[in-house]
């Protein structure tokens, strides 16, 4: 009965519809939004529409300054008195200020001068130059031309410490102003070290949990899961209290005579790794535990009965079978750590800040959403690349624990 089968399919589709909608709304849409924000460049083409159009025909290699049409177009764009237009011009001014510092006030003050009653009959070229000499400089017009297209690689290049010159060539920004590539490498380094530390602690812990007696295993489970269920801020603040100069750990070390002056344990790299490992341990232990639990204990006994000593048995029998858990735990830990924001910003010094800090800075403080999106994209691409690499080498199904 095909009718009945169709109906069944419709119902099952409807049943998962909320899930699909949810995935679409909270997962796919934001990513698409990030992608478009990182290349969107509407400010100048919307704020200065006539000028953008007039400058499209101008070739800076042929003449220093654009033709009269561009000057007139700019004057018309800036003379528009409607609130929407002044707002759009202000947005264009913000965008152009990225190209040349000072453009913001140049555009706003020129607009003000043009809207005020002034002498007529003069050529626009002379009038604009009289308002501000910068309108007679090629660099000013080149900046508008560069910023006029509706899409740009400006933010993506900035996120890679690069910029594009007027002639189209791409080069690195001066040494003193480079930042993001170093921050990206730092982010990956922190994530890698945290993952290795978690593995070093998590592997023996998971083994112990599998092999321990029921009661002890339960206690160990609680020790791993309780922090997992505790608020991130509570955990982080607790560590700040514990590790500070006057904190219990330093006091204990001083009292025991191991150190004579307090150690700097927080607001530096040491503190960051201590707290991050604590945050991430469950992400490592749980996949390891579930893999180890599924390994029948008589495999190891069999290896012993066949004459292998326990060390050889571990390396040839046990370890290979736990590798899917190691892969899944490591990947999970690495990805979550790379995107962490709150903990590093609370327990690290400015020098330990990761990419997430800069995404937040550009989104919330600097209001440079284009660069925030480009940096977010950079992180996303790195994590995806790692995922694909792991998928190639270990196998996606194994990482997901499906095999």
């Amino acid at each position: 009965m095909p009718w009945r089968r169709n109906r069944g399919r419709t119902i099952s589709l409807l049943l998962i519809a909320p899930l699909l909608l949810f995935t679409f709304a909270v997962f796919l849409l934001p990513i698409v939004n990030i992608l478009t924000n990182a290349v969107a460049n509407p400010e100048v083409s919307v704020g200065l529409p006539r000028t953008s159009a007039a400058l499209a025909d101008w070739d800076p290699a042929e003449s220093d300054l654009p033709g009269d049409a561009a000057f007139e177009a700019l004057a018309l764009d800036l003379s528009d008195k409607s609130p929407e237009s002044t707002r759009a011009v202000a947005a264009a001014a913000r965008r152009l200020n990225y190209e040349i510092s000072g453009f913001r006030s140049l555009l706003v003050s020129t607009g003000r001068a043009l809207r005020a009653p002034g002498e007529d009959g003069k050529e626009w070229r002379e009038r604009l130059a009289a308002i501000d000499a910068r309108w007679a400089e090629p660099a000013t017009w080149q900046a508008i031309r560069r910023a006029a297209p509706a899409h740009t690689t400006f933010y993506l290049l900035s996120a890679l410490d690069m910029r594009q010159a007027t002639d189209g060539s791409v080069s690195l920004v001066p040494e003193s102003q480079r930042a993001y590539v170093a921050v990206l490498l730092r982010t990956l380094k922190v994530a890698a070290i945290t993952t290795l530390l978690c593995l070093a602690i998590g592997y023996p812990l998971a083994t112990l949990m599998v092999s321990a007696g029921r009661r002890f295993a339960l206690i160990l489970f609680g020790a791993v899961m309780l922090p997992f269920w505790t608020s991130l801020l509570a955990k982080t603040s607790a560590w700040i209290v514990l590790l500070q100069e006057e904190g219990p750990i330093n006091k204990l070390l001083m009292w025991s005579g191991l150190i004579s002056s307090p150690l700097q344990l927080i607001f530096n790299a040491t503190g960051l790794y201590i707290v991050m490992v604590h945050m991430m341990l469950p992400f490592m232990v749980l996949p390891l535990y579930s893999t180890m639990k599924s390994i029948p204990p008589h495999y190891m006994r069999a290896s012993v009965s066949l004459g292998a000593n326990p060390v050889r048995g571990f390396f040839h029998v046990y370890l290979p079978m736990t590798l899917p858990g190691v892969g899944a735990g490591s990947l999970l830990t690495f990805i979550v750590t790379a995107g962490y924001y709150i903990t590093p910003s609370l327990v690290g010094s400015p020098r330990e800040q990761m990419l997430g800090y800069f995404v937040a800075y550009y989104a919330y403080t600097s209001v440079n959403w284009g660069l925030a999106s480009a940096l977010g994209l950079l992180l996303l691409v790195c994590v995806l690349a790692l995922y694909l690499l792991a998928g190639r080498t270990v196998g996606v199904r194994q990482i997901a624990g499906l095999k």
């Binding site: 119902i11 409807l14 519809a17 909320p18 609130p83 002044t86 707002r87 202000a90 947005a91 001014a93 913000r94 200020n97 990225y98 510092s101 000072g102 453009f103 913001r104 006030s105 706003v108 003193s176 102003q177 480079r178 930042a179 993001y180 170093a182 921050v183 400015p350 020098r351 800040q353 800090y357 800069f358 800075y361 550009y362 989104a363 919330y364 403080t365 600097s366 209001v367 440079n368």
Partner: protein, 347 residues
Amino acid sequence: MTFSRMIACAVSLAVLAGTGAGAQARDLTVVGFGGTVQDAYRKAYWDPYAALKGIKYVEDTTNGGLAKQKAMIETGNVTWDVMQMEADEVAIACDEGLLADVDWTTLSSYKDSEPSMFTPCGVGAIVWSEVLTYDADKIKEGPQSWADFWNVEKWPGKRGLRKTAKLTLELALMADGVAPADVYTVLATPEGQDRAFAKLDEIKPHIQWWESGAQPLEWLAAGSVAMTAAFNGRITTAQGEGRNFPVVWNEQLFAIDYWAIMANSPNHDQAVDLVDYMNSTGPQKLFAETIPYGIANKEAMAQLDPAVLAILPSAPENQKRALSLDTRFWIDHGQELSERFSNWVAR
């Protein structure tokens, strides 16, 4: 109830919840820079005003920046009404249409006020100053200039500075021997900017960055910094609590903060009325007596005790070697220098 009807109900409920939240009427929301200056606003302005009008109000705090305002306008969910804002940010936000462009001459308090304290979209709230301070109980012979502040050999210990390019690069140049009058001319050149960052490099390991104005004084009291840049009014408040923190007026960096009203505020008329109240003589006098920041109202200034006048940033004695924050400079260079600064801090 059939399944499809259940879905329809769920969808319409979700839509209702979404639209209902934005349209809800809410109490007047006022935003200051937190800490003791906010306490003074509450005491001198907000509580008396709310009692007078029989209304409730809500407080929030900010450390500056325009991101929240921009997000409110773009999402159409305006949750602030009256805000304290820094001068360059008022100008930028006004141009970008984030603030209500009110005709301030219609305020009843306008005639009593200094005309220069009014700007498009903003009414001068306080004249504040960033100055050097230290704990005189711990340091007998204290630092007297930003050059001294940089001298970590003579005065060891951490230095508190605000984690923004604005207010920090200026101090670096003054520490490097640039006269207050030349600071912005130098800072406008790429060489001057490099010079300021190079000067900051000298004491970078010694700097403890603060973000809210209350932090540096807490740290100074706790002894975690040896000396710090801080806002003058908060230092005086700490003195009132028994702290021996002198204000070093030499090379002070002073500026005006403004009251501004959000564009599309659902409480617009009430907000204008509150700004008018805050700018009127009685409340202004009470405010300046609570915390020594300069005020816009001339009548209130005239009524102030000479002892209070002497500890305002505008006192002639304090203005001898002072730097006025250049709003125009920060409108033009704020974005570039702030981003370079945040990258530099994280190096």
